[in-house]
Symmetry: none
Subunit: 124 residues, 4 copies
Amino acid sequence: MNITVLNNSDKPIYEQVYGQIASQIVNGAIEPGSCLPSIRTVARELRISVITVKSAWEMLENEGLIYTRAGKGCFVTEHPPGGLADKKYELARERLGRDLPFYKELGISAAQLKELIDREYPGL
Amino acid sequence: MNITVLNNSDKPIYEQVYGQIASQIVNGAIEPGSCLPSIRTVARELRISVITVKSAWEMLENEGLIYTRAGKGCFVTEHPPGGLADKKYELARERLGRDLPFYKELGISAAQLKELIDREYPGL
Amino acid sequence: MNITVLNNSDKPIYEQVYGQIASQIVNGAIEPGSCLPSIRTVARELRISVITVKSAWEMLENEGLIYTRAGKGCFVTEHPPGGLADKKYELARERLGRDLPFYKELGISAAQLKELIDREYPGL
Amino acid sequence: MNITVLNNSDKPIYEQVYGQIASQIVNGAIEPGSCLPSIRTVARELRISVITVKSAWEMLENEGLIYTRAGKGCFVTEHPPGGLADKKYELARERLGRDLPFYKELGISAAQLKELIDREYPGL
DNA sequence: GTGGTCTAGACCACC
DNA sequence: GTGGTCTAGACCACG
């Protein structure tokens, strides 16, 4: 449960939090079935607003990655539809889908795009 | 000079307009040196505000894709620094750069990403 | 954070505001990393439109002198590319470059121009 | 009487024309007392509007560089107040005066400005 | 006719 | 509260 918030990022804070939690869930870094820390705890530790954390948690719930039990807390879904590995690809596919029209419009072919990835992806 | 505006898009209108014009310029669909239609004309045709069009035009000018002459109109830059082909890759690289951290965080490798592209890129 | 606006100036208001803020930033009069007053506050104090202030702020952002975070405010860039000292010379060089063709056309030599500066620069 | 008009200049056409004529007068390239070509002739040759040429001629007249005789034409002033050489410096001083506040505000000293000139003035 | 600037007023997302 | 976006309507300089 490591989260880092950058105030000078271009992404809103709630998306930063969402992204990091989501990644740790699909990567297995956070145990399926485990209980997430309360939004108030997270808010206090990251020194951000409770509402901001709540937004992130809501995104996770909408994605089916966690579920909420009133009065108990939020838990990582044990068996998300399709499994965790699929979730990972689903999130990536969704993101890629938003950009492909842009590349196509620009006249970038799949081959050229893959070339760009090789050049720009430093961490393999 | 084809532009389509979606009001229910998540992208602001001026960015939609910018993206479509920018693409047509770097693709050569719009002649270098030619005069763009006046912001008032475009605003009328797309049924949006003059200022919204102007925002898009300003982005194009900041990118060095067009230059504007008060009282005359806006013209496509003949020889942008680096050439049009470079501009095309520059725009794509910029976009890709915004997403790579996301994929890396998710645990998607370059190989997996390229696989995704092959599966999702219908127009080759 | 001192700004003075002259309505009868030949320069548009947003450029006046931009110039004064930019100078105070490159001079260190405004702390790097600090938060600028909100565009609404500045607009109220200077009795100008919010949008006019926003134009100035956008110029500052395009120059890389500030960055803005929606819902938080606008912040002075801590480490602009090249450093603040370079920014200072860059702005001066840019301005000078616009005038040199004029002096050359007039038949003023570099020596004569420097002579003029000595005579006209009261503050050394 | 050589004038070149650049459509893609950032300066308005009437200022381009004004500047070139003014320079040629203060440099002696145009004979004092001589008759300038008619605004219609100039407009035809430069393929610009008569009104545009008229604006330039009016600036010249306001500067005291030419005078108009209705029905006869426009003539270069033989003895402008202070002499032609002074006019040259006057124009330069005026231009410089507009920029010095900018440099001072930026924190650029006279010495630094002269340094910049040496570096940026290619034609001595 | 063109773009440049400025205005007041509105709704939205984020914190 | 903050900035982001969009609107309608106005006046100006330029050609």
